[in-house]
């Protein structure tokens, strides 16, 4: 068969397959991402249906996918929002990163993977997926909940921390000796500082530069600029993802809103390619032996995010039910863990990528489920809190053993 025909046929078949998988995921209320990963595993080397022709398309497409994912994430934030959030929520953010990152790092140390892999695992377990979380909160109608600002603040801090963390990791991976590692980390952080200041201070200049009346011109300009910035960032070891994220922050106002709408469909396609590519480049044969450690790590990570949410919720003054919901909302991990695994690659530790693949599969499934699963418990906590408010423990009535009819708050009985 002629190579063009083969490329188009295989690529088309993969996209059609993803479409079917996405529809199935939507029906059962799951995020399609774990299924995309599984599809990638099936099509890759050693999988059920190895594909040859589209491999190079997926390799390039997945790089574009990272850039688009992070660009759109950056578009959601304004510089002003980021600064006020860091000032107010820094302590919760630090707690979140340490509490969730350290188990990952400890995991790598216990398995004897060395310091670089420990740093990488810190990032894999620390950073939640803002993409999954804001979608789940919207779908469940919880945007208005009083614990939601606490959840969103944690996400903002994580995303900003990621912008510092990824350059450090990228520089360390690229470096060959301790001295060159220190040097390249400093260069990366210096570049980051300059770009961050441009993004925060001169966002309106950047926005005016890309602004255009025609959608087509706007799309080409933004995409072109994003790839140039991402490429330059990668060259300076700041990481392409961070470059795109900072560009997203710099773009602001109505133009940013408009770009988000334009880029949305493009982002969805290339993000799917990105997740499939990660599956493609992971050998399914190496996966089963890593599933048990990944499951242990997953259980620990669920627990640490629940604690983070509880603390963040209490700080903003929500009740126990809201604190539990905040923790459950934060459970999801996804794109950052995979971006990190992609950076580390197989060069450092062969078991790294399959472990992260197993971990992300579990967390991306658990993430959207957790908020639903804790709901009955949250309701119980809310009922208890309502009962306590109505019946202060000082009164004799609080020892009344008579069970309350469920669903009927006690304060209504009294009035």
């Amino acid at each position: 068969m002629n190579p063009t025909a083969r490329l188009l046929l295989e690529l088309g078949a993969v996209l059609l397959g993803l479409g079917a998988v996405g529809r199935f995921a939507g029906r059962i209320g799951l995020s399609p991402i774990p299924l995309y990963l599984l599809a990638g595993l099936a099509f890759g080397t050693g999988g059920l249906l190895p594909l040859e022709a589209p491999a190079s398309f997926f390799a390039t497409g997945s790089e574009v996918g990272v850039v688009l994912l992070l660009l759109v994430l950056g578009l959601e934030y304004t510089a002003d929002e980021l600064i006020t959030n860091v000032r107010r929520q820094a302590s919760v953010g630090m707690l979140d990163l340490l509490l969730n990152g350290l188990p990952g790092a400890a995991f790598a140390v216990v398995l004897g993977w060395g310091p670089l892999a420990a740093l990488a695992m810190f990032g894999v377990t620390a950073i939640s997926s803002s993409g999954i979380i804001s979608k789940v909160l919207t779908d469940l109608g919880r945007l208005g909940n009083r614990e939601t600002p606490a959840v969103l603040s944690v996400l903002v801090i994580e995303d900003l921390a990621m912008a510092v963390y990824l350059p450090v990791l990228t520089a360390l991976i690229a470096a060959s000796s301790t001295a060159s590692a220190v040097y390249s980390v400093l260069v990366a952080l210096g570049t980051l500082a300059v770009v961050l200041i441009i993004a925060l201070r001169y966002g309106d200049v950047v926005t005016r530069f890309v602004g255009a009346r025609s959608d087509e011109v706007l799309l080409l300009r933004v995409l072109g600029l994003a790839l140039v910035v991402a490429g330059a960032a990668e060259a300076a070891h700041v990481s392409a993802a961070v470059g795109a994220f900072l560009l997203g922050i710099a773009l602001s106002g109505e133009v940013a809103e408009h770009i988000r709408g334009l880029l949305g469909p493009l982002r969805d396609i290339f993000a799917a390619v990105f997740f499939v590519f990660f599956g493609l480049s992971t050998d399914p044969a190496s996966l089963p032996s890593e599933l048990l450690p990944a499951a242990v790590l997953a259980i620990v990570s669920v627990a640490t995010k629940l604690i983070t949410g509880w603390v963040a919720g209490r700080r903003t003054g929500v009740g126990p039910a809201g604190r539990l919901r905040a923790g459950a909302a934060l459970v999801a991990r996804r794109e950052f863990s995979i971006i990190i695994a992609g950076l580390v690659g197989a060069s450092v530790i062969p078991a790294f990528a399959p472990t992260v693949a197993g971990y992300v599969l579990m967390m991306a499934v658990l993430g959207p489920l957790a908020p639903r699963l804790v709901d009955p418990l949250a309701r119980r906590l809310a009922r208890q809190a309502a009962a306590r408010r109505a019946d202060p423990p000082a009164k004799k009535r609080s020892h009344d053993p008579r069970p309350r009819p469920s669903g009927e708050p006690s304060d209504r009985e009294m009035s």
Partner: protein, 162 residues
């Protein structure tokens, strides 16, 4: 009573405004940056959680705003009528054949002749509060008249016969 509205920033999403009603229910509005609005009603038992969320497009939220805002003028007149004893308030229509069609408020000398005042004119969806003497009436206008009971009846008679 002043309603205390709480404003909360939702990073990456927009703004939330909410308040507790006199009845003790918390309601709120989320304004997303892309123009989408969510009306949220909080749970009675767990005041941190939403019991219901309704998503509105920009056009739909304008409709809701109008529905909630428009009847207020009529309401205020109704209250005025209750508040002041011995004072009558009534909305009187100008029929198409009325001699008041195309006359100005000054020409008709309503206050001099009846003692009652025209405090507002409702025309379609518009309300003209405190019309000036050069305000010109049209068929279908509704005059909001305040005065003694006899005064208001006299205005009604004038509108019909001139």
């Amino acid at each position: 009573m002043e309603v205390e509205v709480e404003e909360t920033r939702l990073p990456g999403i927009g703004l939330r405004h909410d308040f507790v009603t006199a009845q003790g229910r918390r309601i709120g509005v989320i304004s997303q940056r892309n123009g989408v609005r969510h009306v949220v009603l909080y749970d009675e038992e767990d005041s941190d959680a939403c019991a219901a969320t309704v998503e509105l497009t920009l056009e739909e939220s304008e409709v809701v705003a109008e529905l909630l805002g428009a009847p207020r003028i009529t309401e205020r007149f109704a209250r005025l009528r209750e508040q002041v004893e011995g004072l009558a308030t009534e909305g009187l229509p100008i029929a198409p054949g009325s001699p008041f069609v195309n006359a100005t408020l000054g020409n008709t000398a309503i206050r001099t002749r009846t003692g009652a005042s025209v405090v507002a004119v409702l025309r379609g969806d518009e309300a003209f509060a405190s019309p000036t003497p050069d305000f010109r009436f049209r068929a279908g206008d509704r005059l909001i008249v305040v005065g003694t009971k006899d005064g208001v009846s006299a205005v009604r008679a004038l509108l019909a016969s001139g």
